[in-house]
Subunit: 174 residues, 2 copies
């Protein structure tokens, strides 16, 4: 499912609001809420959701120029770190449904960022790898992702940022 406590996305830069891009942020802003949130502010899930939305909005805006969104980014990074891995393992690693992964990889393959080759050891599975073009694109993509991350660091302060990175790790691995 991935339901929501609150939901929605947000415009930060005004230049991008009301843009042609489908699903670009335009919605009600989380900040300075018009009414009392009650006990929601005592739910970690609510805060995690608002945080995730805020960060993803910034990520998407920052990487709009290379037309890469979060799921695509995570796929490129994991393939880079594990060349030759199968779709099944990639699906398991990122928690993306294998059915959905098919379409995401179709898109990245059409853009010549990713290659699917038949595995020699198990001919049912595909060995995934980045193309030269994919590696080259990824350099720029990572630079933009770093820019994005630095914006978050500035927003939180380095100390708070580090603290969060450390304490949230339990949910992502280990």
């Amino acid at each position: 499912m991935t339901d929501q406590y609150s939901a929605a996305t947000r415009p930060v830069g005004r230049a991008l609001v009301r843009q042609a891009r489908p699903h670009a942020p335009t919605t009600p802003r989380p900040e300075t809420p018009g009414a009392d949130l009650g006990r929601l502010t005592r739910h970690l899930g609510y805060l995690a959701r608002r945080t995730q939305i805020w960060i993803f909005q910034d990520f998407i805006r920052t990487l709009a120029e290379v037309d890469i969104r979060t799921a695509q980014y995570s796929i490129l990074i994991v393939i880079e770190a594990n060349p030759g891995l199968s779709q099944a393992v990639l699906s398991q690693t990122l928690g993306i449904e294998r059915a959905r992964l098919v379409h995401l990889l179709d898109g990245l393959e059409a853009r010549k960022f990713v290659q699917r080759r038949r595995s020699i050891s198990d001919r049912r599975s595909h060995a995934l790898s980045l193309t030269a073009q994919g590696r080259s694109a990824l350099a720029r993509i990572k630079a933009l992702a770093d820019e994005h991350e630095q914006r978050i660091v500035r927003r939180l302060g380095r100390k708070s940022y580090k603290t969060l990175l450390r304490h949230l790790a339990v949910f992502a691995y280990g």
Copy 2:
């Protein structure tokens, strides 16, 4: 949009896996990933996303018996804290699109948890409030939500939990 770095939901209790409930968790598990996540573990957005998914799964499972999901819960709580507020303000407060809010309120009204009355001051808007039945249901709902929250506290440890609550607040308000 609300795109994703990684995505997906997860079964925690095995009893509920492969259940009839639509969109119940069944997907690949984040924990013990099969491959290297690379720099993803250094992105706060990735960690926030995995955290949100983990927590929402637990919330949905815990409140399945009262058939309340995260968005519905947040609406009930904010109406309770701000009786008489309008849909516009509720939308702004929670960051839920007003178009979507209409359907969510339709459902809660059909269950007699929520009431829409014409505002006297501005006849365009609705004054929202809980019904007696809604208040009574909310007592049970809150108890289950507290149970859920305590499970997160146990998972993280109270100190880590408190730290996260404090540091994530910046994204949700202020």
